[in-house]
Symmetry: C2
Subunit: 594 residues, 2 copies
């Protein structure tokens, strides 16, 4: 089927559903960052393969809304499809609601599949459309009938994430969750509906393989005062897991049974996070129930790592540090640069990681951006874009792994030869910001947005900035990006707490020229008592040399130089025992004092 | 009348009002920071003279809630009154709602005078009490009948703040206000109720003398699409002002007529800020009207200074700088320290300021804190506490003036002789923070809480902090503390914009030992275009040397030393022409490069 034929097939369903338009977003019923192929309907209907975008189909027109990362790619992939490209955040681009208003009339109805819209998204859209008198209606997923070779919902087996890694039993975690929400209200029996896949995996100490780069499994969880219900396709539960869940008192239901289950609930209060819960499940909850919209208590419990998780994470950091040193040494001394490309680099790095024990996979798509590609923040080399390296400029390398012991995420900017003064300055100013944030000490109850400026202050003085966050949380053998805390310019009320991990990754990107970013993972640890209470600080746990060659030493303060030298000393001390003589020799140089 | 007799007289009104308790806060109907004596009922009923505190009287008990600044003073002043002291934010202290719950029973009623509670305060109290089944009722001000020598509502004459200072006419300002709120909603005629005295004074280009340290006049303002209504005691309007207001199309009403006026409104939408509007006026608004609670559009218009205001402010800064240099030179060279006290210093400084043209008064109560008194953040020397100076330690001096050209606010920490290493370190680290904030460059749409850490970062590394904000806005010949922006740890969604002024005043306070704070006023100015848009920076507009003697130079970075030297050069260049030979000579030394 061509894209045109697919759109025609979709339009043929409009009449029976009594709709004049249909909207297809890029998410799944769990609002996942990576989406299983079953839910890639937007890709199927449009041919556009980017990770972000929304397609709107009316009876006579079709449009794709996507962001600046994908303008070029989308324009190419939409050729010959009759789908028009709408460039988000560009002056003059109508919003989807504006577009629908101009194409429909008051009284018309727009359809969505409520499973792939969060409560917040559906509600916002409904409010926008209602000001024009346009109605929003949830209909059954229309792709089941028209997408003939639609991939199945993933059916990969679930496995146990052992206590030696998880640190706390499912029983302990469920008690902690109940304790959190029992504090909210005692007047009515309260239960929580959990839709976020990483929260379910964390709670049950189970992992899966349904989602790209994340060890997750497609399911819903419902925790009442005395019961735990897991909704998952039974094929995915091996016998050992079945026994494990029985012992933990978890009742099993089919994945699709979540809807009738919610419809039959008696008079209780259901807690849910409206950003993580899809609109169809919200609407399924029996009218007898109260619904309270909350930030999930699991997000915070999960973000504060326990001692066992922290110890394991340190092991993961040593493994990943060894991988990186082997790779950097190879690139520096053994590789013939002229024979290497961005994709060959990616394969080399993958092979080194895959050789590590307990390696499960990459934690996100590796970014290998050479030269101008380093300025494309979510660049992924493809056969069409793949570039042969040369002995000059920067290679920006952002990568990470899923080990049973933990999830890693590291960025290094590597000089392949001669650098311009501008490249050196950008590199050094970004490193300054990275170090200043890493050195911060702050009182308890500090939010990430209060610290963000420490990483940006030096580039801001030269009127440079980056539009991504400075830091995100990371799961324990879970999602690479996890909340609820962050270090960003934007407000986030969640405070930074001991036991949380967060990345430190300022960058500068100059389109057509180069990009530089330096990223380590920081663990938040107590710094001691002081005026008005307790203080916290960061411990850098990523172990990998930061290239000294691009540094303009005069731009660093003495305190920053000391930090770098001490960090490098620790990198050497912790990695050297795992390396052979040549690698140790290389590392000794790479970590020698500046 | 003794305090006991006063409380008995108040209790005698309970029966006719059908209340079991009455709450007396420290505010006026305009939620002013400084309160005219007429509204000092809390002081009258309790004998406690501190600026912050709330008295609660039940049929058999009485309590005063106040914060840590006033624990000692309140304990002394409450002796023999039967009023119990409740120390706020101390473990075990009940809230006022908790206290009332323990003394009253469900169905009982608590009275307040709705004029001296903001909408937010009254609503919060009502919600807290309602969970215990206790009712809240607004009653007429009971002090009119029992407080025999109650001071009158201030009747001081209003005067015109000339266009040469204000920069924009009242007509222009009213247009700008209407433009702001007309954007909000066009479907219903909209009006704004203005209760904040500084917003009224700014809008009408009028000033008064009703409130301590602030050139304000007691009034309400109501702006509709086509009309402007001012509610003020007619005695306060001289003939010239009357003509001025007539020409500006402002209709005059008596101050108390605000209530019947609001009761008779027809079907319009009334905008008001629930933090600045008293509960009695809210309740007076006709039920036919819609009420929309907003942040006042005037606050933001007022905060962004126009060119005329900025030019005048520079003049005010030169005047105040001359005052400070004369004072500092006198203290350094001419005064006999052993004959001076905190209060004599205050008088000396007042005399110097009063000699400046267009001086209207202090902009707040001068803080002269010697030695351990410097650690008391809102210290005000009294005959009982006044301390004779000695040639050692720090004198913390925080003061400011109201000039027609603008409002000033400056803090210097002055060494009177030998200092301890700790005093020098604290001084230097606070100065570092002050300079780092002053040097910041930041993109448009940055909020103050994002920059706050720049001023704190160095003391936090030694586990020190201060619990006040780092910076507040300042009026143009108006309130010393004005919003809506700020630089604080706490969230504030208002962004920093070119034309705003903000203080930069980090400090460290060590009880029983010393305090140090350095405060300048910063003007936000464009820094130029750059990546992703425009950038802003600070221009320090306060002109006064920062004492170099306590500085430990090795703790400052080269960039910080350069900032200080350049700042001092500017201070000298701009002040020297206004000084005599001896003062210039002293200033040349005080501003010589570090």
């Amino acid at each position: 089927m061509t894209v045109k034929e697919r759109i025609t097939a979709l339009r043929a369903t409009f009449k029976q559903n009594k709709i004049k338009a249909f909207i297809i977003p890029s998410t799944d019923p769990h609002m996942s960052e990576y989406v299983a192929p079953h839910w890639e309907a937007r890709k199927w209907i449009s041919g556009f393969t980017g990770s972000a975008g929304t397609v709107v189909i009316t009876e006579n027109e079709a449009g794709l809304w996507t962001d600046s990362r994908y303008f070029l790619q989308a324009a190419e992939q939409l050729q010959g499809t009759d789908i028009e490209l709408y460039k988000e955040k560009i002056a003059g681009t109508p919003t989807i609601a504006d577009f629908l208003k101009s194409k429909l009339i008051a009284g018309d109805t727009v359809g969505i599949d409520g499973q792939v819209f969060s409560v917040i998204e559906a509600r916002t859209l409904q409010e926008e459309l209602s000001t024009y008198g346009i109605l929003l209606k949830t209909i059954a997923d229309p792709f089941d009938s028209i997408w003939k070779d639609r991939p199945l919902i993933p059916q990969n087996p679930v496995f146990i994430h052992e206590l030696q890694y998880a640190g706390k039993t499912t029983a302990e975690k469920i008690s902690a969750i109940r304790e959190q929400y029992e504090q909210l209200d005692n007047r009515k029996e309260t239960a929580i509906l959990v839709s976020a896949l990483d929260e379910i995996a964390w709670t049950l100490n189970l992992r899966g393989n349904d989602v790209h780069c994340s060890p997750l499994f497609i399911s819903y969880l419902f925790i009442t005062k005395s019961e735990v219900h897991l909704f998952i396709m039974p094929e995915k539960i091996p016998e050992t897991v079945k026994i494990y869940l029985e012992e933990a008192g978890v009742q099993l239901h089919g994945y699709q049974e979540i809807i009738p289950f919610l419809q039959q609930l008696n008079n209780i209060k259901v807690l849910l996070n409206p950003s993580q819960t899809n609109y169809a499940t919200l609407n399924a909850i029996s009218a007898e129930c109260d619904i309270e919209e909350i930030l999930s208590p699991i997000a915070l419990l999960k973000a504060i790592k326990n001692e066992v998780e922290i110890n394991n994470l340190h092991h993961a950091m040593v493994k990943d540090g060894v991988v990186m040193v082997k790779f950097l040494k190879w690139l520096d001394q053994d590789a013939n640069i002229h024979h290497e490309t961005e994709m060959s680099i990616e394969h080399k790095l993958h092979a080194l990681r895959a050789a590590q024990p307990n390696f499960f996979g990459e934690s996100f798509d590796t970014i290998v951006g050479y030269g101008a590609h380093g300025a494309i923040i979510h660049y992924k080399a493809t056969p069409e874009t793949d570039m042969v390296l040369e002995p000059k400029g920067f290679l920006l390398l952002d990568s990470g792994a899923q080990y049973f012991e933990g999830t890693t995420d590291i960025t290094r900017t590597i000089p392949l030869g001669a650098l311009t003064q501008e490249e050196k300055e950008d590199y050094t100013l970004i490193l300054k910001g990275h170090i200043d944030l890493a050195m911060a000490v702050f009182p308890e109850r500090t939010r990430g947005n209060q610290l963000d400026i420490l990483a940006r202050q030096h580039i801001l003085k030269r009127h440079m900035n980056y539009l991504h966050g400075t830091g995100h949380g990371i799961g324990s053998f879970l999602n690479t990006h996890e909340g609820p805390h962050s270090i960003r310019m934007e407000d986030n009320p969640v405070t930074l707490q001991a036991g949380m991990v967060v990345t430190d990754e300022p960058g500068v990107y100059k389109a057509g020229s180069h990009g530089t970013r330096t990223e380590n993972i920081l663990l938040i640890v107590p710094s001691g008592e002081g005026m008005f209470g307790n203080y916290l600080k960061f411990e850098t746990i990523t172990l990998c040399p930061i290239d000294k060659r691009p540094i303009i030493k005069e731009l660093l303060s003495e305190e920053e130089i000391n930090w770098l030298n001490l960090y490098h000393q620790r990198v050497y001390d912790l990695l050297a025992p795992q390396l052979d003589y040549d690698e140790r020799y290389w590392l000794a140089n790479a970590t020698a004092p500046l």
